[in-house]
Amino acid sequence: MTELLASPGNPSSLHSSGRRARRHVEESREKVARALGARPAEVVFTAGGTEANNIAIKGIAWDQRDKDAKRTRIIASNVEHHAILDPIEWLVESDGFSITWVEVTSTGLVTPEALRSALGDDPSDVAVVSIMMANNEVGTINDIAALTAITAEYGICFHTDAVQVPAWQEVNFAELGVCAMTVSAHKVGGPHGVGALVISRSCTVTPLIHGGGQERDVRSGTLDTAGIVGFATALEVGSDRRAETAARVKALRDDLITRVRTVIPDAVLNGSLDSRLVNNAHFTFPGCLGDSLLMLLDAQGVECSVGSACNAGVPQPSHVLLAMGSDADSARCTLRFSLGHNSTQADVDALIAVLPEAVERAKRAGVPRTPAAERVNA
């Protein structure tokens, strides 16, 4: 990848440097396709997961409405990443679409019944359904094949945001039965700022970016050869080692969960016990602002995450926790510990060593009241 950063070829050029770059891109496309159970022609490289999600939501919704003016309804789960929620909200506010949210269970799962209920008696007005494969906050994994079986009955396009998954378990695009699927390089150990939308040949999308016609005219713009090669390599290497890595990380994560519950008896594990990403542990620590805990643990060299922050960096109560039935105050008392392929037992031991004092201090600092407006939303 670093070698390619110094190489001048534009993969869209016809001269030899261009062709060389093109070869790297196409080899990468084949690797990505192979790792994800897709065909090379189905892989559209983007500048990351957010762009891929935008192309999927807007591009499919517009295309479907162009074909049938009645199709103006979007269906999505209410625990999607903001890269799905926000494009949908924009389409609703600015472009005449409507949204039906699929309610999740208390563990964050989308059930086939919930999807059927959202589709309603006459889903002929649905433009696109988007349900994430695994939740980025609480790690709950959905059975996408069971959900696409339902939309297939009606011939409705189904998109899934699978960004969280390929690092930890096999993803097979063809077997999922989806029309489109989002993946991101940095979530499989590749570089930031590269991703792909895998689009089945039967699915057409209206492009968001117009220009040189790269990437099947779906996504114009000069390709980031070095980034794409990094993405493909990370995915390929990760896939080869996945089974071993996932088993090791799962054992560490299970140990982390057990020991957090031992040292902090009132900690509540959020999400599902069995249908869960192997690297995810997400807790509510009652009476401790996640924000305070993050700061205290950060000072001790433990890096963890609160739900999400708005663009001014203001921590917000997680919409995922709220959707799972948590109240606004306890939704602010959560913390996610994500493990990586290089996490060690010593890392878990270090967390367990400093967590009790951090929890005690954070409890003393208290939980400021949640603004009234957000309580109403909850």
Binding site: A312, P315, R364
Partner: protein, 362 residues
Amino acid sequence: MKVLAALSGGVDSAVAAARAVDAGHDVTAVHLALSRNPQSHRTGARGCCTIEDSNDAFRAADMLGAPFYVWDLSAEFQEKVIEDFISEYSAGRTPNPCLRCNESIKFEAVLERAMALGFDAVVTGHYAQIVHGPHGAELHRAIDPEKDQSYVLGVLTAEQISHSMFPLGNSTKTEVRAEADRRGILVAQKPDSHDICFIPDGDTAGWLARQIETVPGDVIDAQTGSKVGTHQGAQAFTVGQRRGLGLGNPLGDGQRRYVVDVDVKQNLVMIGPPTLLEIDIIEAVKPRWSGPLPTNGQAVHVQIRAHGEALPATVEVTDDVVTVTLTESIRGVAAGQAAVLYDGTRVIGSATISRSRRSASL
């Protein structure tokens, strides 16, 4: 010491934090988010807590090598500053929201949370000095009279002062800007913020009109008791105000008319000649003491506006009512403002003006 520096994204708090680092303290930076829906950019000198400010604060912390976090205090700010501001105006008083913010947010909510999280003190870019005297930490005026903010810090208790650090109190603004420039702090030339941060367009009357239900009422000549005009809501008027009465010259005697009293209950605005505004006794309630209480009859100086003069006076304190007798009368004292008492440069305490009157001798 392990200290928490509150970074607004402006030049003062950045230099204050930098000086704390230089002094060898272990500095962690926080930016206080006081609004849930911040604007992207600040327009001119008004408004605060924009995304741009937050980013500026982040970059300043980066330069100092201090960990940076954003603390959401918007709920507290809404309740204790904005709602207090509205209810005070609704009651016909003229509040000072900056002072309320210092009292309830910066040196209460933030300081308490900081102490609980294991910090020893909070550092801010306020212009005031802390001097260690016989009774512990004392709050004093800054050396730069133009920038002195001891008035809005008058609400700090002795305990709060002992856990505060104001590294800029011994400098002028010019020196602080030059230092920021020297340190490579990018916001060195950023304009000072002023006015009320949550009213970014500066139109307080218009903002209040949207928050408070007002009904038109009578403007009364305080000397004759007769009606001389109408107003759109008594809450928008402040004692001492001359503009905005819309009366021209009601009595035709060539004398200017001022608001001399506001009666929100009866929705009346009383006007009269400036002589009616003359008062020499101020009563104030809810005192907050920065150190030992004054002795009754003690000669002090009192300041009743953020950038007002310090007026010579004597003070009596009975059951938490502070009575200040001014050596010379003044005009136009609005209820709701703070009266801050000084012994030389030292702040004695602060109380909220409840009423003012004329002594028999006046």
